[in-house]
Amino acid sequence: MNLEGFLAQLAALATALVLAPLLTGWVNQWRAWLQNRSAPPLTQPLRVLHKLFRKETVMAHEASPLYRAAPYIVFACMLLAAAIIPTLATTLPLARAADAIALVGLFALARLFISLAAMDVGTPFGGLGARREMLVGFLAEPAFLMVLFTASLISDSTSLATIVSSLGQRELAILPSLAFAGVAFTMVSLAENARVPVDNPATHLELTMIHEALLLEYSGRHLALMEWAASLKLFAYSCAGLALFFPWGVAQANDRMALAFALPVLVAKLAVGGIGLALVETILAKMRIFRVPEFLATAFLLGVLALLVQLLLGA
């Protein structure tokens, strides 16, 4: 590992840590504008994090060490996920660990701990949220895997870096499989990041909530870590989507110029993606929780179709 690569990796990590809350803020801002409300400032999530880190952490008497450790594990998982997804460059030192299946594994690990922690305290909301989170997860993960398999079938590799660089370099072609995979990926991302139409990130204490129910008992710096992890997850998913379906502008080698150029491109792509997400959340209504399996089954179906079409049409 040379120094330059190490620095590039550090830069990518720092970018992720800063850009993730900003992305959340950006989406919130646009959502507010689209819904004719006055918007919070862009840096609002960062301020919230700042505030939470200074606050006292209160815990239930029955809380086990697992409960205490969960925020750190979840945060670490998300940070690692954001680091291995080729956001700025494809040839980072961690690229060797950046396997598509490992990525799904990291998300699953985080999900496991967040659900265990939610059940740990024994409040009804925690158990409810954990159950729903697992339901979403067990349907969304196969669909996500199908999307990743389709991409890896096109580029003959499950390494994210190879996928992105080969997708970025191929000539422009109409690929129905990627179109299907793209739609499936969008649906999975909406579900995984607790966005409308599966969950509403803007509500607290509603019987239909999923993600917020999991965090209900956390406070102070634990809550800050959890919120930050959620931002990082959104960031990781967005970057994965951009890398798979819009792979242009990601730096190839340890090329400083390209790396410097990659950052504004990434920010621009994220900005557009964020507006798109806000638009989706404004247009769609939240569906009943019983319909979620259908929604995710459709995503899975699209993923499988993408895979089949790719396998059989070679397109």
Partner: protein, 220 residues
């Protein structure tokens, strides 16, 4: 270049047909079902035109014109009239389990692809890869007919099966001889009219278009 573009376009339309077949399989509303059927006809027309354009087979334009007239305009129009006159426009089929239908559909697609793969290699058509998709569309329409309990969705399944067959004809060979295609189109049209008459008879007799009324005849 034009050739590769044509192949990509045909594949795109084929993928669209497959997607629409799944959408029809899972669609509960009759009205939306008719729209999906018309869309499928449109995808079929587009793919036929693309093949005609890429290969210079003039008769395929005629075949595409027939397809368009019949499957995008006339049949959906008849179906619209039919459901309006029969007052079933907002009917919703309640008894379908969508996720399991999807799974069965996927199995059918895999089966169809496996069946078609060794055969499509013999084809010289630019659209040969889509033979499997065509067969899959046929099988899925078949599944739809089996699982629906209302008459109009069954009919739409029947018609969409015919779409799949037409697609198979363009993907394996460059369409059937014209006289055969005309004959098939005539049969479909006459069949549709007869079915229309027939649906009125059923409704008049049972006050409903639920096929579950039509399960009395059994060997006892």
């Amino acid at each position: 270049m034009m050739y590769t573009l044509a192949i990509q376009l045909v594949n795109l339309f084929a993928a669209g047909m497959l997607l629409l077949a799944f959408a029809m399989l899972a669609q509960r509303r009759i009205l939306t079902l008719i729209h999906l059927y018309a869309l499928q006809g449109l995808a079929l027309t587009a793919s036929t035109v693309t093949v005609a354009w890429a290969t210079g087979q003039a008769h395929l334009y005629e075949s595409a014109a027939i397809t368009f007239a019949l499957k995008v305009v006339v049949l959906p129009w008849i179906l619209h009239r039919l459901i309006r006159r029969l007052n079933v426009k907002w009917d919703v089929e309640t008894l379908i389990n969508i996720p399991s239908m999807m799974l069965v559909g996927i199995v059918l697609v895999v089966f169809a692809f496996n069946l078609a793969l060794p055969i499509s290699e013999f084809s010289r058509s630019i659209a040969r890869g889509t033979l499997g998709i065509a067969l899959a569309c046929v099988l899925m329409s078949f599944l739809m007919m089996i699982t629906r309990s209302k008459a109009v969705p069954q009919v739409i399944g029947f018609l969409s099966m015919e779409n799949g067959l037409f697609f198979a004809a363009t993907s394996a060979t460059y369409g059937m001889p014209m006289v055969v295609e005309l004959g098939i189109a005539l049969d479909v049209l006459v069949g549709m009219v007869i079915l229309g008459v027939f649906l009125f008879q059923i409704r008049e007799r049972f006050d409903s278009l639920d096929i579950r009324h039509l399960e009395k005849l059994k060997d006892d």
